[in-house]
Symmetry: C2
Subunit: 393 residues, 2 copies
């Protein structure tokens, strides 16, 4: 395999000892002649057990992935599987240094058919689709309303994205150049995962902070290729469909337009991007980042839009971090259009939110949120926006 | 005010120093002649700021309750506001002992119109309802699809339910007699809250464990009277509506029937109740408890059903606790029919779930769950059911 240049970065593919794929994405100025070190760990073949089961009450798919119970959990710093390999410690990355690297998760929630353990990933009991069920749920199979228990193998893809080889860094401390490389990695992998026949939606995200359940502290994100359109995306697209029929306009564009006209909740903006606290924010610190033009996904962004994204993403993240004199556990979630359906209704955007509600205090999802889906936010969105505007990034 | 007997319990109403209501629910054998102690704390009048805002993308209401930031947070044991009052410590309960007590939350997510701070609880910008919006969202107002920002005062009711005066007890350590008293309190307060004109759904629940964000460790639950039908309930009722139209049958009854026929995921049962792990469980330990006959809510249960509920609730909770040799943070959520709509579609049931996935390990809602609504469960539901069946309660 050999390196290729896409956009601003060099991409070099590799294969790990157990057959998983890995891709180096190098900054423009990085020499890429040391990307051929062979992973020599004695790993058993990658094998996952995953099924997706249909919850008839909520009309949603749930993934059951039993093998993940044994995944690596808060290892000591000198055994970090995301640091570069060195003498005496062979990590997941068979290189002495790297810029950005993407590889298949060893403990995936979804996996390719060849990696799925057939015993624990039974075939589903499909039904002929006479009810529009597949279309409504975004599940690309010939299935209908099930009599009782509907399941399918959890085919899909889960990848890890390391943002830097520096174990103690954070996304917010990356250079704009590096963020740009991360963006190119998201773009390339979004395209690659969308090309997998079973994948219906690609989700690039970062979970940050032990308080949010992150089991590895090395700065990294993840990319999921789901075998269904996710519940929240399906729900938003339903709203957008209703809105389009009623007004002839795109709902997301109208939301952005209303926020721009109001101005009260705007946090930051540049020529191509707008960051605002949503009017009905669910989280104490929550920022939505929209491109000013409707595009379905990250690959659709122009060169200039990607350049400006790197700048405003860092600006917003640093503002969020500075509101409280405390760590910022957060989730950064890229909402992209489904791969096959409703691409005209969708509108690429980033939802960034933190469970930090005050120094030393976290927002938890308890009964009202977790059981009823009814969020109670203790922070006025206009006040959150004001505080993020006032701190210097 | 004077005590009344309802069912098996004595109920004595009282009023706290700031005007909030309180109700003593006493076990049948308890003497109730000391329920007239006056709350002499110098409390300012209860005042809450709460609005509900409409999220146009998800089509859901979100409560914004800014005043809750200052609520009591993990106080030392000797300042517990839920313990009985004693010399030198005046708690929320002006009695030297109690069995079960219910009172209005001092930091409510929703409050009565007289308690809402008008400055921070603006009137909404209503629209004539020409789109069925009110019906679809369960919001009982004359409003339509908003142009931009729709909000309403957060009128409703939030109550605290103390299960015992023993600070160090837990629901699972209560006697069946006491659980029966708690059930009568839920029934009585469900009826009372349903009678509030603005309340659309009554939710009885318990959050247990600091890991789940519980800010007071004294054994207690809560009751919310929401000014809207909660998102998850609306979603289930939509599924039930579709199912009824397609099959002529009740969806919840069919789910229970399928679980009984399969048997694989049954955890416990008695003549009137069945407890099972749902086929598409989202949580590592999750049990749904259904009455064997379709009823809309807790007040509809017969005397015998309430009696058997006390027994099986304790049985299931104790089984969940014994699966792992560690604390059991959990949420217990009563799904009741909305007050005004879809009462024929709904089916009372309890959803009990824990974030404990292994000793020392918790399940967190991270990017996939919190941002996309796509749950990944690391535990096979059949395995969880087997483990709960095998431990002795």
């Amino acid at each position: 395999m050999s390196a290729v240049d896409i956009g601003h970065v060099h991409v070099t593919p590799a294969v790990l000892a157990d057959g998983r794929e890995l891709f180096y994405f190098d900054d423009p100025s990085t020499a890429t002649d040391r990307r051929d070190i062979v992973d020599q760990r004695p790993l058993p073949p990658a094998m996952a057990s995953s099924t997706v089961r249909f919850d008839r009450l909520l009309g949603e798919w749930v993934a059951i992935a039993g093998h993940r119970q044994s995944r690596t959990y808060l290892p000591p710093d000198d055994e970090c599987p995301l640091c570069p390999s060195r003498s005496g410690h062979q990590s997941e990355i068979p290189a002495h240094d790297y810029d950005v690297v993407v590889f298949e998760n060893r403990f995936p929630s979804f996996a390719s058919p060849s990696e799925l353990d057939p015993e624990n990933s039974p075939d589903g009991n499909g039904f002929p689709d006479t009810t529009g069920f597949a279309e409504r749920t975004g599940f690309a199979g010939s299935i209908g309303l099930p009599d009782s228990f509907l399941s399918r193998p959890g085919v899909g893809r889960c990848e890890v994205v390391c943002f830097t080889s520096d174990h103690d860094a954070a996304f917010s401390s990356l250079s704009p150049t590096r963020v740009r490389t991360v963006i190119e990695a998201w773009v390339a992998r979004s395209e690659a995962l969308a090309a997998i026949p079973e994948v219906e939606q690609v989700f690039c995200f970062e979970n940050r902070g032990e308080e949010i359940g992150v089991t590895l502290s090395h700065p990294h994100g993840q990319i999921y290729g789901y075998p269904f359109v996710t519940p929240r995306t399906a729900q938003m697209l339903d709203s957008a469909r209703t809105h389009l029929a009623a007004t002839g306009r795109n709902l997301f564009a109208d939301v952005l337009d209303a926020e721009l006209r109001s101005g009260e909740r705007i946090v930051a903006s540049n020529e191509h991007w707008t960051a605002f606290v949503p009017f009905a924010a669910r989280w104490p610190l929550e920022v939505h980042l929209y491109p000013n033009r409707q595009v379905p996904d990250l690959p659709s962004l122009t060169d200039t839009e990607r350049e400006q994204l790197a700048a405003i993403y860092l600006d917003v993240l640093r503002r969020m971090e500075r509101v409280h004199q405390d760590s910022l556990p957060y989730i950064a979630a890229w909402h992209q259009a489904p791969v096959r359906i409703d691409r005209d209704l969708a509108y690429l955007h980033l939802e960034l939110f933190s469970i930090r509600r005050a120094p030393g205090k976290l927002k938890y999802l308890a009964g009202s949120e977790s059981a009823m889906g009814a969020f109670v936010n203790d922070v006025l969105p206009e006040e959150a926006a004001r505080r993020m505007r006032e701190v210097t990034s």
